[in-house]
Subunit: 340 residues, 2 copies
Amino acid sequence: MSDTLADIGEFGLIEKIHELLKKEGAGSSEVKLGIGDDCASFLPRPGYEILITCDCLVEGRHYLPEYITPVDLGRRSMSLNISDVGAMGGHPLYALVSLGLKAETPVSYVKGMYRGFIAELNPFGASIIGGNLTKSEGALFIDITLVGEVEAENRLCRSTAKPGHTILVTGNPGQAAAGLLLLMHPEPGQDLRDNPLVRVYNTPSHRAWEGRAIAKSGLATAMIDTSDGLVGDLGHICRESGVGAVLIQDKLPLSNELRRVAQQMALDPYDLVLNDSDDYELLITCPPEHADQISSIVNSLGRVSVAEIGMLTGATGNITLMLPNGSERQLPPKGWDHFY
Amino acid sequence: MSDTLADIGEFGLIEKIHELLKKEGAGSSEVKLGIGDDCASFLPRPGYEILITCDCLVEGRHYLPEYITPVDLGRRSMSLNISDVGAMGGHPLYALVSLGLKAETPVSYVKGMYRGFIAELNPFGASIIGGNLTKSEGALFIDITLVGEVEAENRLCRSTAKPGHTILVTGNPGQAAAGLLLLMHPEPGQDLRDNPLVRVYNTPSHRAWEGRAIAKSGLATAMIDTSDGLVGDLGHICRESGVGAVLIQDKLPLSNELRRVAQQMALDPYDLVLNDSDDYELLITCPPEHADQISSIVNSLGRVSVAEIGMLTGATGNITLMLPNGSERQLPPKGWDHFY
């Protein structure tokens, strides 16, 4: 029988986590105090703004425990936060991990999650410097706070887009939604864990390297990650910048896998691309003359494609989809809402 | 009927919180981006270390919802974090609030919590700059990350205490434990909400003003808050500093209320003072010749008393209690463990 948290207790678990991080995690010379004091402490670099974000995953709501390994769960939860830092053009530095665990959770499960966290942090030289452990009375939850830095002059946000600017998006938004649909309607005997769409849902790629390169170029006017779905997040840009948008359906990137699942489930594939989906791609706006250069920057990293999908307009808050026949469809700005 | 979160949705709630914070919260000119972007962003002050801590309260585990108002719950959860920053000698700056809420939670309840958060933050000019909202499948939870700052040369931690140094403690540790006992064994018809011990349990005072003044004086060698109980946290200092400790029972501060509850419940009052209790007092160590000056500093703030309760020794990890008859009792270092 493997040890559970009830067997080794909170302080026993903290010690095991500490050991694992020391051995397998990236350190940083700027960290003055890490795990084991009332606070963690670090010395910020002069000239840099500090970025800080937090995202929480609740078992059964933000992931399906039966279909995800603890390592992938760790990667997933850290990627979400890295995506937020990347969407501002920043570089991740330090994470605080707050876990709500059950007494019967195996220690190996928690260690797996930490291996997932550091798998995502290590490439940035970023480290876990603190956190909290508590017993959850219901579902397990993982609440991560991530600290990053960005040169004050390079930071990108949502409120600085302009009418006439081009809209770009990385990757294939909607694939995570398709993966989740597969998980929720499994066919008997089907092993879905290695399905490419399920993998996108379970361990979405952040685009922090791309976001950082775009921010450093100074070519973009606004940036956001698509955590609330493509139209949801485009709606955030429109609201905060006081602009509208036209998307061109023919230009929306559509993967073959997504097309196949949509057909199989008798859904419009473009609904999957536009609506709620957990993809963590980047939506970028820029003056039209910069679009090619931004595409080159993203392409040169060799990790993900990028597509021009439409244009911002002066019709504040109004998002429409231009169909192949030239007619327009109104898109109600919607996103992932946690309480409906 | 009052609105619930299901009625107004996540984005409706975010808007209401945003309004409340704008109207009632303290702002800061260093905040570059607050709520409404992928990350919050601020410009750190040169020469200061950034402190960062997070603490999570779970309904039914860290508070009893039937006995605490939403405002007090907000105050309680923010105080815990302020206490951590204060125990390092720091000044609180920015908070991120991550909430796991139920669909049926009234909007007014959430607004009450935020009023509690800012009641504790405003005196420091500190503000809420971000967070996360999610639906909890089980108990409500409140996970706060607090960022503070401290001059690099003034920061206090656990690992720098020395044998021969004096141990001081603020206030009356154990009162929160007594308050919790009262709540867990209520007599029929008794309204406990205004009981002074219950008030200490529900809304413990942080000692961040005292912690900051002590740190700035440069007179202390280590500091910690008593969130794991007096002996639990003294144990942390002993472990991290490689020292032992002798506590003198006669010198432990004992309030009349605590003495009364101990008598009523047939408990040793000193067990309440020493063991698990949610008081958030400060444990301070210093060279003996500095003890009076530290007491004066704490007294001059006029908010809480301070007592010398013992001495550090070279017997690493060994904590004993000296009884009035001169004999010694071994105290197993224990603290609040979340998984037993």
